[in-house]
Symmetry: C2
Subunit: 245 residues, 2 copies
DNA sequence: CGCGATTTGTGCACGTCTTCACAAGCGCCT
DNA sequence: AGGCGCTTGTGAAGACGTGCACAAATCGCG
């Protein structure tokens, strides 16, 4: 594919490709850059400036340049970044060069939607298994996959090389599922259940709580309301989403 | 007792009490504290120490105390925090004393699930309208609500006092929907579409992108794999990923 | 009534993240 | 070849967030 140098993917047999030690904040933005870059590539752009890309990703351009500089020097001064090369680099760093297998546990309301969400497949992931603890749900077919019982996890994990577990169960069941996932060697968990998971060191958990997002918005609504009600108190406190057009 | 002013004393109906100026990081954690507090209250606890609450919320206890101190002084040294009082205070600050009406736009795969998610109702929100641009979806009934066409938004917004808009449409439609929401006065948007929204100043947008969460986990998987490959080389799972040449 | 056990609230130091501003590098045009 | 305009990459400064460690406050008990 590329005759470009691969600083992140050296051919040295046995050597570990030195992953740059990226700041967490940068890691969290890379997927956004990646999405913007794919859009640009689809639009026929071959290069893009930090200004252009940062606008497409909704961030400050200096921040974007600093983020990218952590990956190495893939831009050309006076020109910008090669879109295809940058996509390749970010995908490599994010570990998306291999399609990771995801096990989704909990096929209720939300789980159903996640199972049918094609954004996973289109961005480097493969839902390899649907699991549920409820026997009445086992056997159901969703999107071409048959729901299996969560106790089958050990065999499935080996068979499918599960890399990531997604928990979409009720809160009460989440910790137990997390324990089961950890037991079969899963070290990355995405938790949609509204509860705190306790996992051993070395296991990464990310949490998505839909109600929390609304509550944060509610705070800002409340705050905006109280500000406009105050006489002469129009504080210019911007939030982070000022994306000019 | 302290003669502290109670910024959130819910007794005062007319005047809007000055909201403390909270750090964003604190605001983002308050909902988590609130959830933990509700659990404690259900469990019969009347008071809780910062140590106990922080464990239940999965954070450092010093951080918790600092967060709460921003709300005012609602703890008692030597005792802890009054659970009921703290719930009341946090709910007040987050603006949850009134049940906010949410309009959900996009009743596809994900939208369906969100419409049926009872976590919204149980945490202070009311899904007041389901909207879609697709005429073939209009009229469908989900969870007791009938899907209406998105062009009816203006009337619905007034009728239902919509406070928050949730966008669960495909990315291509999201900006248009956002514009429509802003046009009817919505100033808080939760966006599930994988794209950047451009909105006028004063409108808050929060974004939830499920694939991005997985990609962040993927990075850490990738990183862990490259690290464990260092000593002795047990990385049978991921060695093939460093195909460079 | 005073003392010790307990827990909050916070000053301080440290690390991370953001943003500005600009030198260095690159390509194009004359 | 040389100059000019454009863009990257980065040093430095400041804002923000975190966590330790401890004084101040409170309760219970003898």
């Amino acid at each position: 594919m590329s005759q470009h140098r691969h600083p992140g993917a050296p051919g040295r047999a046995g050597a570990v490709p030195a992953l740059p030690d990226l700041p967490e904040a940068t890691v969290a933005r890379l997927p956004e850059y990646l999405r913007a870059l794919h859009n640009l590539a689809d639009g026929g752009h071959e290069t893009v400036s930090s200004e252009g890309l940062s606008a497409a990703a909704g961030v400050n351009s200096a921040k974007l340049r600093k983020d990218l500089s952590h990956l190495g020097s893939y831009g050309t001064r006076g020109v910008g970044y090669d879109v295809a090369l940058l996509i390749e680099q970010i995908e490599y760093v994010l570990g998306l060069t291999q399609r990771r297998a995801v096990a989704l546990v909990g096929v209720g309301n939300l789980g159903h939607a996640l199972a049918g969400y094609d954004g996973f497949a289109s961005r480097g992931f493969r839902i390899a298994a649907l699991l549920d603890a409820d026997p009445s749900r086992v056997g159901e077919e969703i999107n071409g996959l048959v729901v299996r019982h969560v106790d089958e996890l050990p065999e499935i994990a080996v068979q499918e090389s599960i890399a990531i577990g997604v928990i979409a169960t009720p809160a009460a069941a989440a910790q137990r599922v997390a324990d089961q996932l950890v037991a079969v060697g899963v070290t990355s968990i995405l938790n949609f259940a509204p509860c705190v998971l306790s996992v051993p060191e070395g296991v990464d958990v990310r949490k998505v709580d839909l109600a929390i997002e609304l509550q944060i918005l509610s705070f800002h609504e409340h705050r905006k309301a109280s500000l406009t009600a105050l006489p002469g108190g129009l504080a210019a406190t911007e939030t982070q989403e000022a994306i000019g057009t």
